[in-house]
């Protein structure tokens, strides 16, 4: 009943707003030629032939205006402006919002598909249900993505007409495939969503698979546009000397030489990889936030259990995807460096170096939050106290790595501090500000987080494997040798040349990845059919854990906003780096403070819209699996909240 009332209200509101829009539009159009005094003049003109001098003046002026308008030649605008906020911020916010929703829309099918697949293999209905729960978030988000995409396109065309035109000049052949793919995505998405339970499982899985393929393809095309702006050319070993050369896709005057080079440009692949991984992490965290939101609303134990589990899975997806993200980030950064020393230094040592200290704070918070959630999760199990004693050490490791990662190479310091240090870097701490230390820190962070997960996994379970002691020891040895290797390379890095040191990152990463794989491989048989010392009580989580999930989602979103800024801001005053100069008043690079303000506002808008998406998603489709009572309970609460 409540819902009906709301829907009715929305209908009325929509009707009223249509009328208001039409009226307002008419008023604005008419008003341009109908200022009151002029109207009077015109009316009087009809009646009387004699005009007062004032009236005559008005008529003359009007005629002059018209003549001037006719005489004015048509000019192509280069830029247009938006009052108060300016063109850049407008496009910035629109692009960011479009991207956030798009990332979500691309990511959710990815893991919905995987979860559904797992459910199909395991023949467990609860996975299927979970996948559907995730998919429910999709359709509204899809519309949001499309809406903001349209906003963004209009924004670009209106505010940056000349530059948009230039991009069209380069990329016009890609637009048609893009639109067609978009159409296909809509088709697959809706058939996947509405076809749930109506198609056979294999057909349905195929739809999900195609949805992912098409979605990824769309992203790849769009990535070409934006990476072209950063690196308008392809990497290729033209002269065959083993050193990659830069093949420019455009001439010095900006004319297109090769669409292929423009499309498969220098940073295209790194961005693709980075974005897929980041999207999954982001999507998982948002889905977990949704679960947390529903968990907090839930009244019954079943509902709680369900959403607790969903939050857990979402967070699990987010963290698993998050672990390799720093490496994808390094790859991207390295490619940017390789493309242009100027851009590279700009990024790591220049204007943006402080941005990476903020980034360190965000990532540290993310790791801390993720671990925290896992530790709280031990409370779900009977006998979870057993592993609590490890938390202290994990926490110390994480905090240490966090601190190392947040150590700036050159600290903000007062004049006397600089004098005492003999420069802007501290004799001891500056070691922590270098790449070796930071690589080590992030690897240890990853290991620690995985350790938390392992502990969580075995809380309340007792292995029944015949060689359990041996296997557990093997795990410990693998774990500690990976950690030792990482630390060894980190320390040894200070004793060798930079050229060699840089290569140390690779064995560090590999030893961590290998450790993760080996430990997992051992862990699977070790805890197969493990004896439960107590039951896992889904839904038995303190509320603070759910807020932690939302905090994680928020940090992720903010981080994405920040990284989006640095990627785009790197170009500084260039539209297309080295080719098309931005000559608008917004060409300067704003302060970090301002950028973070814009990011914050964007994030707040996004979460506001997300609230709407969550609410809409929770409206429909419950009766399929949930008992009536639960659905009613949920509705009552949501209705109450909305009212």
């Amino acid at each position: 009943m409540n819902r009906n009332r709301i829907l009715f209200g929305i209908g009325v509101l929509a009707f009223v707003s249509v009328i208001v829009t039409v009226r307002l539009g008419g008023f604005l159009v008419d008003n341009e030629y109908r200022q009151p005094d002029r109207q009077v003049a015109a009316q009087e003109e009809q009646g009387e032939t004699e005009l007062t001098p004032r009236q005559q003046g008005i008529v003359d002026e009007q005629a002059a205006d018209e003549a001037e308008a006719r005489a004015r030649p048509y000019e192509e605008a280069e830029y247009r402006t938006v009052p108060f906020v300016g063109s850049r911020v407008t496009v910035w916010v629109l692009a960011q919002l479009h991207l956030l929703f798009a990332a979500f829309v691309l990511a959710v099918p990815l893991f919905a598909f995987i979860i559904e697949f797992v459910g199909y293999v395991k023949k467990e209905e609860r996975y299927n249900k979970l996948a559907y729960e995730f998919t429910k978030l999709l359709s509204v988000s899809f519309s949001m993505t499309a809406t903001f995409g349209a906003f963004l396109t209009f924004g670009l065309i209106i505010l940056y007409p000349k530059f948009t035109n230039y991009l069209m000049h380069i990329f016009s052949p890609t637009f048609l495939p893009y639109v067609l793919l978009f159409f296909l995505e809509a088709l697959f998405l809706y058939s996947y969503y509405y076809g749930w339970g109506k198609f056979g499982p294999k057909m349905h899985l195929f739809l999900g698979f195609m949805l992912n393929i098409v979605g990824t393809a769309i992203m790849f095309i769009a990535n070409a546009w934006l990476t072209f702006m950063m690196s308008p050319g392809r990497r290729d070993d033209v002269d065959g000397d083993g050193v990659p050369d830069f093949v420019s896709a455009v001439s010095e005057s900006g004319a297109l030489l090769s669409l292929r080079d423009a499309f498969f440009n220098f940073t295209w692949m790194p961005i693709n990889i980075h974005r897929i991984i980041a999207n999954v992490a982001f999507g998982g965290s948002i889905a977990a936030a949704y679960a947390a939101f529903r968990y907090l609303q839930a009244k019954t134990d079943e509902e709680k259990a369900h959403f607790d589990w969903m939050g857990y899975v979402g967070n699990f997806v987010a963290i698993i995807a998050f672990l390799p993200l720093p490496f994808a980030g390094y790859y991207l950064a390295a490619e940017i460096y390789a493309f242009s020393q100027t851009l590279g230094i700009q990024m790591m040592g220049g204007t943006f170096s402080w941005l990476f200290v903020i980034q360190a704070a965000l990532i540290g918070n993310l790791f801390l939050g993720a671990n925290y959630y896992l530790w709280l999760g031990m409370g779900r199990m009977e006998g979870g106290v057993h592993f609590q004693k490890f938390i202290k050490w994990l926490l110390i490791a994480i905090a240490l790595c966090f601190a190392v990662w947040a150590t700036p190479r050159y600290a903000i310091s007062s004049v006397s501090e600089i004098a005492a240090m003999g420069g802007s870097s501290h004799p001891q701490l500056s070691y922590l500000g270098q790449m070796s230390a930071k690589n080590t820190a992030v690897n240890i962070l990853i290991l620690s987080t995985y350790m938390s997960f392992l502990l969580y996994r075995r809380t309340g379970r007792q292995s029944v494997h015949p060689h359990r002691q041996l296997l557990t020891r093997a795990q410990a040895i693998v774990f500690s040798s990976a950690a030792a290797l990482v630390i060894f390379y980190g320390v040894y890095g200070y004793y060798v040349d930079a050229a060699i040191r840089i290569r140390f990152a690779i064995p560090q990463v590999y030893s961590v990845l290998a450790a993760l794989v080996v430990i997992t491989v051992i862990d699977l048989p070790l805890y197969r059919n493990a004896a439960q010392s107590g039951e896992t009580k889904w839904g038995r989580m303190p509320a603070v854990s759910q807020y932690a999930l939302i905090f994680i989602a928020l940090s992720f979103t903010w981080l994405m906003g920040l990284m989006g800024y640095v990627r785009s801001g790197l170009r500084q005053e260039w539209h297309v780096y080295g080719v098309i100069l931005d000559t608008s008043p917004d060409a300067y690079t704003p302060t970090l403070g301002f950028a973070t303000q814009v990011v914050s506002v964007t994030v707040l808008i996004f979460f506001g819209l997300l609230g709407v998406v969550f609410w809409l998603s929770s409206l429909g489709g419950k009766k399929d699996w949930e008992p009536k009572a639960v659905a009613d309970g949920g509705d009552r609460l949501e209705g109450g909240q909305a009212a």
Partner: protein, 591 residues
Amino acid sequence: MTAQTRLRRQVAATFAVATVLLPLSASAQVDLGTEEQRAAGKVVYDKYCGQCHGDTGDGNGYATPRVKPKPRDFTTGTYKFRTTPNGMLPTDDDLRRVIEIGAPYTSMPGWPNLTSTEIQNVIYYIKSFSPDFENPDRYAEPIDIPRPLESTEESIARGRVVYEEQGCGACHGEAGRGDGASAPTLVNDKGDPIRAADLTQRWTYRGGPTKEDIYRTFSTGLNGTPMPSYADSLEVEDRQHLVNYVYSLGDADDPNYGTLITAVYSEEPLDLQDEEALDALFESAPMTRFPLVGQITEPGRNFFPPVTSIEAQAVYNRDEIAFRVRWHDLRADTSGRNNPSLEVPMWDEDNGIGGDATDAAGDSDDFFGDFGGEEAPAEDDFFGDSGDDFFGDGGDDFFGAADAGAGGAEFSDAVALQFPASLAPEETPELKPYFLYGDAQNPVDLWFVNLTYGVADTFRGRGSDSIEATEADIVEAVTSYDQGAWTVTYKRRRSSRAGVSFAEEQYTPVAFSVWDGFNRERGNKRALSSWFYVYTEPSAEQTVAGPVLRAALIVLAIELLVVFLVRRRARQQAAGEETAGTLTATEAPAV
């Protein structure tokens, strides 16, 4: 400063080692090391030492023409800093000490990163340059350095008597500022001009700042310089008193360089003619010492500025602001000309440059083409390979004993304060003009005093090659020279139309330049500082009570809130338990 502290510790440690170990080691023994050790020493020497001391140890490396004092010529076997009697060879530990900590305010740095073995090897290699080290007769036992006496007033007074009796002031000056009557004429045994130490600035002592260092210097003399040994003429005790006196001349081991002049507010009028009132005013203003270094960025490169620091303070009243600066100079040169826009050659070459000069000149020929004007004849001489420098008196040095003899230098002493012509906009407070006389976009104003005339002229600098006299602001100045110390006091109205205004609570960039006419400093050849700041302290008395009280109240309020919440919850819980209600999982933890 930590570097200084460390230095002092090392000196002390070295001496501890020296005093304990030396008597045991038979120092008269000739120890020239093995072939391998010398070869290993050569590797280190060639990498770190040869560029100044010459690859053949003759003190003639790449850097030699431009540094002062000159790098040691190892072929002579003459060493300044020793624990052995005058004229004798140093011990290995003496050499080691100098290698480890260097000689402050010279181009000899310390080499803390060399290992003990490396240093020993280098010592063996250095010894191989001079045949003296093969002669056992040139070796002597190190002298005994007693524990310093306590610095009582009597001891210092006695030391002063010794100082006067021994005529230390003839070189070091009455007040110890290195301004003795004969200071301008001092040369070492190679004929290179050298300066008597400024005893009031202990941190610049080449041989080290401790009492032991000072005692050692009296007792062993500095070989090759006019500084004799007093081992024979003075009793040990008198030398110890003298140490105390010399030590009392300076008030700090560290220069304690600052970054800020705090201008204090005063209601009093600032009358430059009323000396006493002025002194009283400045009495209340904190004094800050700023480091000065040679201008080596632009032509007129000054590789060895004798003035290494300047002290400054400021006071202001409602309308005016006054600055006082003070620095030490071995002689008041008040007969020549000087101003910031005087043209100077790329650099004044020292003596002994020989063929190298042509090389350097060849590289920079095109640059010199731009120069002309008053110094033109000088250039000709300078680039001729005749070896004559342009002072024409045949003297090898430009410190110019001849100049001194003639009673005045060609260029006068001078000083300048430098301010930006306008303050940076609020959004970019870090923006400043280029610290070397500004640039075209951001000019600077110079308050220049040529000490020959003792009045302030204002110049506007738009870069080193574009300095013009202006009369936009009226700056007054009074000057005085007292026993080696120049004092210049400036005054200007606080507000200015053309230049910078000194508003209250404002940080105004300031930089300093000092010209020592005796060192032929003029134009862009000068000692200068980077940008520092003048802070005009608020005139009203500042109170800390408000913020302190606020902090306390905020914390108290939070505390009370917590106490209130906890108590209230406990009450509710108690009430809840009575009605048998328990908290559900979601409510349990407080968020």
